[in-house]
C-alpha cells in the first residue's frame, strides 16, 4: 500500500488511528497488537508472498538478540553476532544481488548460470539494516529488548517499514514502551496532519510532474541536446528529492498520529555546501547507519590518513550497492566516495571555497551524478551527460527565443519537443529551485508550527489538491477507429 493512495489515506490510516485509540482505552498491549497486525496487513497489501520472509526475519533476529544479551562468553557472543549478521546479509544478498552477481559471473567467465528473476521483497533493504544495527547493539550491550511485541513493532511499524527512515531501536523502542503515548496528543496530530499534507503534495503535485519530464528525457537520451540535457537531469534531481523526502514526510506525519516521533531523514540537502554536508542532509538515517556500523568499526577517523580514505571509499561503495544492484549505482557511490575523499583532503589542507561557489560546485556534482543513479545503463548516462556539456550541440528552443526576444538566428534554434509546455516546465524548475535552496524545509516548518487557522488552511489546501490528483483518468486516444 502506498502512502499516496486512496486506500491508505482514506481507509487504512483512519481505521488504524481510531482502532488504536479505542483499544488503548482498554489495554496498551492490545493496542500495540492492533498496530502490529495493521502493519503486517499494510506490508501484505502489495504482495503477501513475502510476509513470511518478514516474519522469519523478525523472529530470527529477535531471538539472536536475546541470546546476545544473555551470553557472557566473548567468543560465543561474537559467533552469534556473526551468525546474525550473516543471516541478514545473506537474505539481502540472495534477494537483491543474486541475479546481479550471476549476470556478472556469466559475463566475466562466459558461464551460463541461471538468473532467477527474483522479485525484490518490499522493504528488505530497510528492515535488514535496522536489524543488523539492533544485533550489533545487543552485542555491545546497548540494546536489551525482551518484549517481542515492541521488537516486532520496531521493525514493522507501517509508517517507516517500506522506505524508512531507518529507525534506530534506541529512538523508537522507548516510545513504544511509554504509556503516556496511549493518549491522544493534539499537538502530535496537528503536526502529523501538517507534515503529512506537505509530503503528499511534494510527492503527488511536484515529484510526479517532474517524473514525467525525467522519464521522457531519459527515454530519448540519444536525441538530447544541451538544453534538453539540463532539463532532463534537473527534472530528475528535483523528482528524486521531492519524491523521497515527500514520502519521508508522510511517514513522519503518519507516525505522529500514533505519538511516535520518527527521526529526520532530509534536511534541505540541496543547500549543502560540500559533499560531506550533503550526506549530513540527504537520507540522514542511512548515513548514520553507515557511519556507526561500517565506518567507525573499520577504524573511523582514528586511523592514519590512507586508511581513512580507504574506509570512506568502502562506505560509499556499500552505499552505492545498497541503493541498487547495478554497476551504475556502484559507480555513483564511488564517485561520491572520491568526492568525499577530495573534500576531506581539501579541508585538511586548509583550503576553503567561498560559500556560494562551494554550493554551486556541490549542486553541480550532485546533479551530474544523479544522472548515473537514474540511467538504466552507462550508455544512457553518457548520452545525457554529453548533452549537458554541449557535445550534442548547443541550441535554444525557438519558442524561448521568440518569447524572450533573444533575436538568435535559425542555426542556434531548434523546436523543443521534450515536453508540451515550456512555460510550465520553467515555472516548475524555478519553483523547485527556490523551495529547495531558499525556503525552510518541512521539518523546520513542522517544528515551528503555530496552530493558527492560516496554517491549517495552508496544510488542508495542499492536502485537498494532492488528494484530487491521486486518481488519474486518461482519455482513450484512438477513439474513432
Amino acid at each position: 500500500m502506498l502512502f499516496n493512495s486512496f486506500e491508505f489515506i482514506f481507509v487504512f490510516l483512519p481505521v488504524m488511528f481510531i482502532g488504536y485509540y479505542i483499544l488503548n482505552r482498554f489495554n496498551f498491549s492490545i493496542a500495540k497488537v492492533w498496530l502490529l497486525c495493521g502493519s503486517l496487513f499494510f506490508y501484505s497489501w502489495w504482495n503477501p508472498i513475502y510476509l513470511p520472509l518478514l516474519l522469519a526475519s523478525i523472529f530470527v533476529n529477535f531471538f539472536i538478540g536475546i541470546w546476545l544479551t544473555k551470553i557472557q562468553v566473548g567468543i560465543q557472543k561474537k559467533a552469534f553476532l556473526t551468525l546474525g549478521i550473516l543471516f541478514n546479509v545473506s537474505l539481502l544478498g540472495f534477494f537483491k544481488y543474486y541475479d546481479f552477481l550471476v549476470e556478472n559471473l556469466n559475463y566475466a567467465f562466459g558461464a551460463n548460470f541461471n538468473v532467477l528473476h527474483l522479485i525484490l521483497p518490499l522493504a528488505i533493504s530497510f528492515f535488514t539494516f535496522q536489524q543488523i544495527a539492533y544485533l550489533v547493539d545487543s552485542y555491545r550491550g546497548v540494546a536489551k529488548e525482551r518484549n517481542f511485541l515492541n521488537y516486532a513493532l520496531f521493525v514493522s511499524f507501517f509508517p517507516q517499514l517500506i522506505a524508512g527512515p531507518i529507525v534506530h531501536h534506541s529512538i523508537v523502542m522507548p516510545q513504544y514502551m511509554d504509556s503516556n503515548n496511549r493518549k491522544i496528543h493534539a499537538e502530535n496530530i496537528a503536526k502529523g496532519l501538517f507534515i503529512f499534507s506537505i509530503g503528499l503534495f511534494k510527492k503527488v503535485a511536484i515529484a510526479d510532474t517532474f517524473a514525467i519530464w525525467a522519464t521522457t528525457g531519459f527515454g530519448s537520451a540519444e536525441t538530447l541536446t544541451f538544453f534538453d540535457g539540463w532539463v532532463t537531469s534537473l527534472s530528475y534531481t528535483f523528482q528524486l528529492y521531492f519524491d523521497f523526502s515527500g514520502y519521508t514526510d508522510m511517514a513522519i506525519g503518519a507516525a505522529l498520529l500514533f505519538n511516535i516521533k520518527l527521526p529526520t531523514n532530509f534536511y534541505s540537502p540541496y543547500k549543502a555546501v560540500s559533499i560531506q554536508d550533503f550526506w549530513r542532509r540527504w537520507h540522514i538515517t542511512l548515513t548514520n547507519f553507515l557511519t556507526h556500523y561500517i565506518y567507525i568499526p573499520l577504524g573511523g577517523s582514528r586511523v592514519h590518513a590512507a586508511r581513512i580514505y580507504g574506509n570512506i571509499l568502502i562506505v560509499f561503495f556499500i552505499s552505492g550497492l545498497w541503493h541498487g544492484a547495478g554497476w551504475t549505482f556502484v559507480v555513483w557511490g564511488m564517485l561520491h566516495g572520491i568526492a568525499s575523499v577530495i573534500h576531506r583532503f581539501w579541508s585538511k589542507a586548509g583550503f576553503r571555497l567561498p560559500t556560494l561557489l562551494a554550493w554551486f560546485v556541490t549542486f553541480q556534482f550532485i546533479n551530474a551524478t544523479w544522472v548515473l543513479f537514474r540511467a538504466p545503463d552507462f550508455t544512457t548516462a553518457m548520452q545525457v551527460l554529453s548533452a549537458m556539456v554541449g557535445l550534442n550541440g548547443v541550441q535554444i528552443p525557438s519558442i524561448m527565443n521568440a518569447r524572450l526576444g533573444l533575436g538568435l538566428s535559425d542555426e542556434w534554434l531548434y523546436t523543443f519537443t521534450l515536453m508540451d509546455d515550456l512555460i510550465k516546465l520553467g515555472l516548475f524548475l524555478i519553483g523547485a529551485f527556490i523551495i529547495t535552496v531558499f525556503l525552510r524545509n518541512s521539518n523546520q516548518l513542522t517544528e515551528k508550527l503555530k496552530p493558527t487557522p492560516l496554517h491549517a488552511l495552508f496544510a488542508v489546501g495542499l492536502f485537498i489538491y494532492a488528494a484530487l490528483q491521486l486518481q488519474k483518468i486518461s482519455e482513450f486516444l484512438y477513439f474513432n477507429f
Binding site: A186, H455, A456, V460, Q469, E475, F476, F479, N480
Partner: protein
C-alpha cells in the same frame, strides 16, 4: 486564542467539505458510469474511455440482457433499443480489434451469469488486416481496474473526473451533442451533426487516409480472424452468433476496389460465412451507403443508419430494400457476383 485542537478541527472540516463537494458533484454526474442514476444534468455524457466506462456500467448494473452486441466505433452508433424481439446491450468500443472479441464476450457472460441467447458482432473490413491485428489484446486491465477495492468511491476523488463531470453537466444543461460521440444514460451514442460541405471534406480526407494507410499493399488479410470467430462459436455453443458488416460510404468502398482489395473483401466475407453460417452484409453500394449525409466522415454512419441495421437484423420492416443482405453458404457466390455487378454497373456508369 489558537490551539492544536482548533487546528485539527479546521483541517478536518475543510478537508471534509472540500473533498466532499468534489466527490458529491462527481457522484451526481457520474462520468465513469459507476452508479447509473439519470437526470437532466447528466444525460449527455462524454466518451472518456468506452472500455472502462462500459466495463464499469456492466459491473455495477443489473446486467440482464438476452443479446450482446460488440463491435468497434461504428457499432457504437447502433441504438441497442432499436432491435425488436431482443433485449440488447451494446458493448461496442472504440478501435476494437477482433483479438479482443473473446475477452469482451467472456466478461459480459461472466457478469450476466449465463450464456446469451445471441451475440451480434459488427465487423469492419479494414480491421481484419494484419497491421490492425498484430497485438494480442484483451480487456483484462479494465476488469482489474473495476475490481480494485473501493474503485467506484476512489474515482470520485479525482480532479480529472471532476473536469469531465463539469463538461457533462454543461452539455447536459444545454442539451447539446458537441462531440463525435456523446452518450445518454441509456447507453445510446449520439453524434454531432455537420454541414454537408464539412462531411464531404471529412470523407475525402478519410478516403485519402485509407488509401494511404490501410488499402492496397498495406492490406494483408489476417487468417486468424476466422479462427477467432470459430473459437467464439465453440466456446458458446448455445448462443446464436450473428455477424454483420459495417456499411462504409460508397466512395470508401470504391477506394477498396480501386486499390485492388476486392479479393480480400471476398475472402473476408467467405471466412465469416464459413465460421458462423450467416453474415448480414451492409458493406456494398446501396441507397444508404451512396448517400454521404448518412456519414460524418464516410466511415462512421449516423445513428439513424444504426437503427436500420438493427431493424434489418431483427427482421423488422421499414428499411430500404437494397440495404443489407443476409448471406449464407448457399447464396454466397450469388451475393458476391451481385456485389461485383453493382461495382461494374457503377464503373460503366462512370465511363459512359
Amino acid at each position: 486564542m489558537v490551539s492544536y485542537k482548533s487546528f485539527i478541527v479546521t483541517f478536518l472540516l475543510v478537508a471534509g467539505l472540500g473533498l466532499g463537494s468534489f466527490a458529491g458533484f462527481n457522484y451526481w454526474i457520474d462520468p465513469m458510469w459507476t452508479f447509473g442514476h439519470a437526470h437532466e444534468y447528466n444525460d449527455v455524457q462524454a466518451e472518456i474511455d468506452e472500455r472502462q466506462q462500459k466495463v464499469n456500467h456492466i459491473y455495477y448494473s443489473d446486467f440482464d440482457y438476452d443479446t450482446l452486441l460488440i463491435g468497434s466505433s461504428r457499432s457504437t452508433y447502433i441504438n441497442q433499443h432499436s432491435f425488436t424481439g431482443m433485449d440488447v446491450y451494446n458493448f461496442s468500443v472504440s478501435d476494437l480489434s477482433f483479438k479482443e472479441y473473446k475477452s469482451l464476450i467472456d466478461y459480459a457472460v461472466r457478469e450476466k451469469g449465463s450464456e446469451f441467447e445471441r451475440i451480434i458482432i459488427g465487423v469492419d473490413f479494414f480491421k481484419s488486416s494484419l497491421s490492425q491485428s498484430k497485438e494480442d489484446l484483451n480487456i483484462d486491465e479494465y476488469i482489474e481496474t473495476v475490481e480494485e477495492p473501493f474503485y467506484r468511491w476512489k474515482i470520485l476523488l479525482s480532479q480529472d473526473i471532476y473536469e469531465y463531470a463539469k463538461r457533462n453537466y454543461e452539455l447536459s444543461k444545454a442539451d447539446e451533442i458537441v462531440d463525435l460521440r456523446n452518450y445518454n444514460r441509456e447507453n445510446v451514442a449520439l453524434a454531432k451533426e455537420f454541414p454537408r460541405e464539412v462531411k464531404i471534406k471529412q470523407t475525402e480526407a478519410k478516403i485519402a487516409k485509407f488509401k494511404r494507410m490501410f488499402y492496397g499493399d498495406k492490406y494483408e488479410y489476417n487468417p486468424e480472424f476466422k479462427k477467432v470467430l470459430q473459437d467464439i462459436e465453440a466456446a458458446y455453443p448455445e448462443t446464436e452468433i450473428l455477424v454483420y458488416t459495417t456499411p462504409t460510404y460508397e466512395g470508401l468502398f470504391n477506394a477498396l476496389v480501386e486499390e485492388g482489395n476486392f479479393g480480400d473483401y471476398e475472402k473476408w466475407l467467405e471466412d465469416i460465412v464459413e465460421s458462423t453460417d450467416t453474415v448480414y452484409n451492409f458493406m456494398y453500394p446501396n441507397s444508404v451507403t451512396e448517400n454521404i449525409s448518412n456519414y460524418f466522415d464516410g466511415h462512421h454512419f449516423y445513428p439513424h443508419v444504426g437503427d436500420d441495421i438493427a431493424k434489418k437484423i431483427s427482421g423488422a420492416g421499414g428499411v430500404p430494400e437494397d440495404f443489407g443482405r443476409k448471406v449464407t453458404e448457399d447464396n454466397f457466390k450469388e451475393h458476391i457476383d451481385w456485389v461485383r455487378s453493382k461495382i461494374d454497373l457503377k464503373t460503366e456508369g462512370v465511363t459512359q
